[in-house]
Subunit: 179 residues, 2 copies
């Protein structure tokens, strides 16, 4: 097994297809993580959540980091890290477009992983707060099976081979072990 | 669905049975998350990792936060948050006992989720760094199905009922839907 850096395109594609993330914020250099549901639109991750520690902290320090995972097995996984900053989307003039995007995305997911409005214990139903995270940068790593490296080298060689030979190679080759 | 706070005992039990966590550290109030493998022993989570941004940041600011999840479905999940501080375990006098614990735990897991020593891309095999996180506090939330709330109320009522009635109730009751 090898661990490889993902390309920027691979990172954006992984971010687009994942809705569950862990968000870290910090106050006085004390980090805090929460899992939450987010949805990508352009350069922004949109979400809804209830008022609580993370919102209070992000209001004082908008710098955040998010993490997504795609784990197939111990040996086949990808992990994505996003650096960004928090923007709250209250009902005020100027936020109409962003709130429309948030509402549209929200309606695609009637059941959120950490439902923003679900009562916590015996407390009352909580009012959701719309926010978005501007993606300032992202980086990812994924495992690469060593034999799939060989497959890729084979693939590069095949590019210069005639079609009949490639077809025969496909029929005769062993089953690939990588995804 | 309701979301409930977990008891301290439930939090420690969940921490003990989970080895994959996301760790957040911070520098200059910029948080950073990485997934990694940890193992609980007493009040400490032990781990190994390669030198990199997280180690450099935790050396300057030992305050960390970790998160674990147990997700069965969108409606059945638990999430645990751990506040702690980082201690590195170099080969120096005074660290023998802690390093022995780390080595013992490490040997139980020949395949780490984020293998500390696996080459990154084309770089050479990396030297692992042993560390531990002192658990300063922990808190957790989990979903509770509303009908299991009713079951608990029933259970409280049964405490004042005779044994024969409890036994009959157990034989006749429908299958429980909560874990």
């Amino acid at each position: 097994m090898l661990i490889q850096a993902m390309t920027v395109e691979e990172c954006w594609a992984m971010l687009a297809r994942n809705n569950i993330a862990r968000l870290a914020c910090a106050r006085d250099n004390q980090p805090y993580i929460v899992p939450l549901r987010v949805d990508l639109d352009g350069q922004f991750l949109y979400g809804y959540t209830a008022l609580g520690r993370k919102i209070e902290w992000m209001r004082t320090n908008p710098l955040v980091c998010l993490e997504c995972e795609e784990v197939t097995t111990d040996r086949v996984w990808a992990s994505l890290i996003v650096f960004g900053h928090y923007e709250e989307l209250p009902h005020i003039p100027g936020n109409e477009d962003a709130r429309r995007v948030a509402d549209r995305l929200f309606q695609r997911h009637p059941m959120w992983w950490e439902p923003a409005t679900v009562p916590l214990g015996t407390s009352a139903r909580r009012a959701p707060i719309a926010f978005r995270i501007h993606v300032d940068g992202l980086t990812g790593r994924r495992t690469v099976q060593e034999n799939s490296q060989h497959d890729r080298q084979d693939s590069a060689r095949r590019d210069s081979q005639p079609v009949w030979l490639i077809r025969m190679w496909h029929r005769l080759r062993p089953t690939r072990t990588d995804a």
